[in-house]
Symmetry: C2
Subunit: 204 residues, 2 copies
Amino acid sequence: MRKRVYLAGPEVFLRNAESVFRAKREICQRYGFRGVSPLESHLDSEPLPQKELGWRISRSNEFCMRSCDLVIANLTPFRSPSADPGTAYELGFMRALGKPVLGYTNVCGTLRERTAQFFPEGLRARRPGKGLEDPEGLLVEDFDLIDNLMLDGAVLSSGFPLIVIEAPPGEKFSCLAGFEQCVQQAARALLGLDAPRPAAVAAE
Amino acid sequence: MRKRVYLAGPEVFLRNAESVFRAKREICQRYGFRGVSPLESHLDSEPLPQKELGWRISRSNEFCMRSCDLVIANLTPFRSPSADPGTAYELGFMRALGKPVLGYTNVCGTLRERTAQFFPEGLRARRPGKGLEDPEGLLVEDFDLIDNLMLDGAVLSSGFPLIVIEAPPGEKFSCLAGFEQCVQQAARALLGLDAPRPAAVAAE
């Protein structure tokens, strides 16, 4: 039975979400895993009020995560200097279950650098030695990490580096080079494999 | 032994973080809980390189969460239309451990409404019947929920409503009215209490 990889990430919001997940599942398969997309779990639900439907998808995704062996999260910044909060939630969920969490982002820079770019008016110094704050007076994390320390920390504590790729223009959420690096690392750590299997062997 | 409440939220980034957490702990105590702030766990660490320090705080917060019985999360939007991703991570972490998760936000509106406000150029319709998307072409969740469905869903699945308060100006992250409502709900559900204990009884 192949190990199941939960495919967390904001690509669920892309117009071509289905094809991005298909490509992710194909990469997983080449390395000996079974990729599981959050879209799979709630395609056939009956008509429901919107709130009830949202809640049902949440329960279905949680059920799905419990059935998976690891998570690979797309931590590309989403409408902010940081990762999508739904993806962050899922990273924490899998981490608490003791399952390996891996992650990648398609945008370079530390959280501090991206937060500085996010505010056109820039950051300012808090009292000397007390770091930088944003225009609302909120401290900007400055640990030389990629994102909030809980996100970086989860991946590091799982024994993996957080993969950073600068995606080609127009592929910010859909570029899969960083994703494939994660799958490769997972295969090495969890399956003892260094390279994708030949196609004939990989087919299920 | 009092039940321990993990105090998740971006107020860790406020200038007066210590005093906000002190006020939260006092509210917890009045209702028979012990509030535990993420700041408590890493105050005395020796000098370390920044990355190592960030990672250590993450491990310390995870250890702290495992020692707590429930979480009350401040889900006020943070540098985006959505909650702080560190807080979202912690919500998922506690939920996966089967511990009750409660949450509040100090900003009104659904995720769709706040996302529309976030982009000055507004949202646009995807193909008919396919919902709204942001200027980057990413679908905007429209489930009549407060935030990403994983966050709302976690609180609802724990048996609590997500509390929404419109904070007074200048108190967006520090207003504690919604927090107290969460503590009240937790006391009712977990301690069978309907009102704060008299001060004399509440003292530890």
